[in-house]
Structures are given as structure tokens and as C-alpha cells.
């Protein structure tokens, strides 16, 4: 990820949060079956990735920043775990924002297929 303009601590949430379904990200991931994964990228700004995660998933800025940092430091992050159809929707939306994202079946999870 490109580090220009990293998000600052204590920032407020962005104003646009059209799709909010926080229950898709849960510690009980296996019950949903499919993970939405965001991958590291050398071009996307860190602050942009935070914005996108907030906008699509409705997470608070701190949570979105945490996920972005996981992408940045480890190369990937599971940003949501959900059923397959909704996962495909999120991946397509993430692609629309220019993020690299894939859908992956949770190993040992109760996938819907």
C-alpha cells in the first residue's frame, strides 16, 4: 500500500457509509463460510483503503484502520466473513474501488456450497 497521507489517530468517521452490516465480521467466522480478503497493493493509499473499508462495511474508523494495517503488514486481511452471495457482492464492490480482493472458503466452515 502506498503510505501517502496515513490516517491520523482520533479521526472522525467518513460521512458516506451506505452499506452497513457489521455482523458480517465476527469472531464466529466459521458459521458463515466465506471470507472476503483484501490484499496489499503498492499503489492504493493507506487512507484510501481505510475509507473504502469504512464505506463498504460500516466499521468505525479505528476498526477499518486496524484492518488496513493488517493488510499492509501481513499482505492480506479478512475484512468480512459472510455467506457466499454477499461475499461476492463485497468483492465486486471492493474491485470497483480499485482494491485487490478475493473470496475464500473458510476451512472447516459451514460454507453454503
Amino acid at each position: 500500500m502506498n503510505p501517502v497521507a496515513p490516517p491520523r489517530a482520533g479521526s472522525s468517521d467518513t460521512e458516506a457509509v451506505p452499506v452497513v452490516d457489521p455482523v458480517t465480521h465476527t469472531d464466529n467466522q466459521a458459521s458463515f463460510g466465506w471470507s472476503v480478503i483484501v490484499w496489499d497493493d503498492p499503489v492504493n493509499l493507506m487512507s484510501y483503503v481505510v475509507y473504502v473499508i469504512q464505506t463498504l462495511f460500516g466499521y468505525p474508523r479505528a476498526k477499518a484502520t486496524e484492518l488496513m494495517m493488517e493488510v499492509h503488514e501481513t499482505g492480506r486481511s479478512v475484512v468480512a466473513t459472510t455467506e457466499r452471495e454477499k461475499g461476492e457482492y463485497y468483492v465486486t464492490r471492493l474491485h470497483g474501488y480499485g482494491l485487490q480482493a478475493t473470496l475464500e472458503k473458510v476451512s472447516g466452515g459451514g460454507g453454503d456450497e
Binding site: N2, V4, A16, M46, Y51, T102
Partner: protein, 208 residues
């Protein structure tokens, strides 16, 4: 100088209305970008690397990916074309002072412009073959592709300007205005580049 100004804010919802001022040279570049991106979309076979970056795979498994692409059909391309059409319409309707440009951005328009600027950066970066984190950088003007690097830097600076302003809008009063600092587009060509024409700026090294 490109600048962003907070025009108004709804006290109840916190929704902000911004004005992005773009000087003549940069405005002429922004005016051309939607058409250039549309041209790329019209010739996917000739621009395979860029198309693959704009439309990455959803599944690692080739069978899953093939089926997903079949179901999506042309919808991904169509969505990009719609976005570019909306950007083009905004540019056509924008206030012009001479050849400078004033873009009014509210919530949905901010989102649209962030996606557009980011797509443009992805296209330029892919065309330049950038494959690792470049950080904030200075353009090496002796490099044969310096104009593309400069464009990448400029678009990133505008994107960061908008994102930073949005993130801190709660703390602004209605007189807020922020310029792109000259240092954001540094044309110092004295330094040796680290990444094919780009020199990393140590001041951003703490991000990695």
C-alpha cells in the same frame, strides 16, 4: 495551486460540501483523463495488464473465477463506464474561471471522485510497471517517463488531500481551506531514483 475548501456542513448530519479548485494545467489533464480511461476499456486485449489490474480476480480457483466472470458478464466494464460518464458530466458542468476548474463535491460526488482518481492512479502505475510500495516520492525529471510519474504523484496528492480533509472535517470551521503544498509535487531532480524514476522520501518510511 490545487486546493480544497469546505463550503458548508450540515450540522445535523455532518455531511460536507467541498470545492476543489484546480489550476489550468492540472485542469486540462483532468479533463482528458475520462476519455483516456474509456479508450483503455474499449481495447482490453491491447491493455491487458491494466485491465487485469482494474478488474482483478475474485477467486484463486480458476474454475470458480471463470464461473464468476461468466455470471458478471459485462457488468464490471459497464459500471466503470458509468462512473467515467458521471465524472465527465461533472467536469462539463464545473465552474470555470478562465481555464481553471472549480468542482463542487458533496458526499456521493466525493466518493465518485475518489474512485476516479484512484482508478487513474492504478492505470498510470500499472503502465509504469510499479510493483512495490513507492511511498511518497520525488519525480526524477531526467527519467524518460517523468511526466507519468509526475501525474501519478499529482493524482495521489489530490486523493490524499480529499481523504485527509474528510477525515478531519469535524475539527474544521467553515473557513477551512487547504492547498497542495509545493513539496507534494517536488521537481527536485538532483537525487538518484530508487524505483525506476521515483526517489523514496524518508519522511514517510515509518509507514511500512
Amino acid at each position: 495551486m490545487t486546493s480544497l475548501k469546505l463550503v458548508s456542513r450540515d450540522d445535523e448530519t455532518g455531511a460536507c460540501h467541498w470545492r476543489l479548485h484546480v489550476p489550468p494545467l492540472e485542469a486540462s489533464i483532468l479533463d482528458q483523463l475520462p476519455q483516456r480511461l474509456e479508450d483503455l476499456l474499449r481495447s482490453p486485449q491491447e491493455n491487458r495488464r491494466i485491465i487485469d489490474r482494474l478488474f482483478p480476480r475474485s477467486y484463486e480457483d480458476p474454475e470458480e473465477e471463470r464461473e464468476n466472470r461468466r455470471l458478471l458478464g459485462e457488468s464490471l466494464f459497464d459500471a466503470r463506464k458509468v462512473m467515467l460518464g458521471e465524472v465527465r458530466a461533472m467536469l462539463a458542468a464545473a465552474k470555470r474561471e478562465g481555464e481553471a476548474l472549480d468542482l463542487d463535491l458533496d458526499g456521493p460526488h466525493v466518493d465518485l471522485w475518489l474512485r476516479f482518481l484512484n482508478d487513474a492512479r492504478l492505470v498510470v502505475a500499472t503502465d509504469l510497471g510499479i510493483e512495490k510500495n513507492i511511498g511518497s516520492s520525488k519525480v526524477d525529471w531526467s527519467h524518460p517517463r517523468a511526466p507519468q510519474y509526475a501525474l501519478l504523484e499529482y493524482l495521489g496528492a489530490v486523493e490524499a488531500l480529499i481523504l485527509d480533509a474528510m477525515a478531519h472535517a469535524d475539527g474544521f470551521d467553515d473557513r477551512f481551506e487547504c492547498d497542495l503544498d509545493d513539496d507534494d509535487i517536488d521537481d527536485d531532480d538532483d537525487d538518484i531514483d530508487d524505483v525506476d524514476g521515483i526517489e523514496n522520501d524518508d519522511s514517510f518510511d515509518d509507514e511500512m
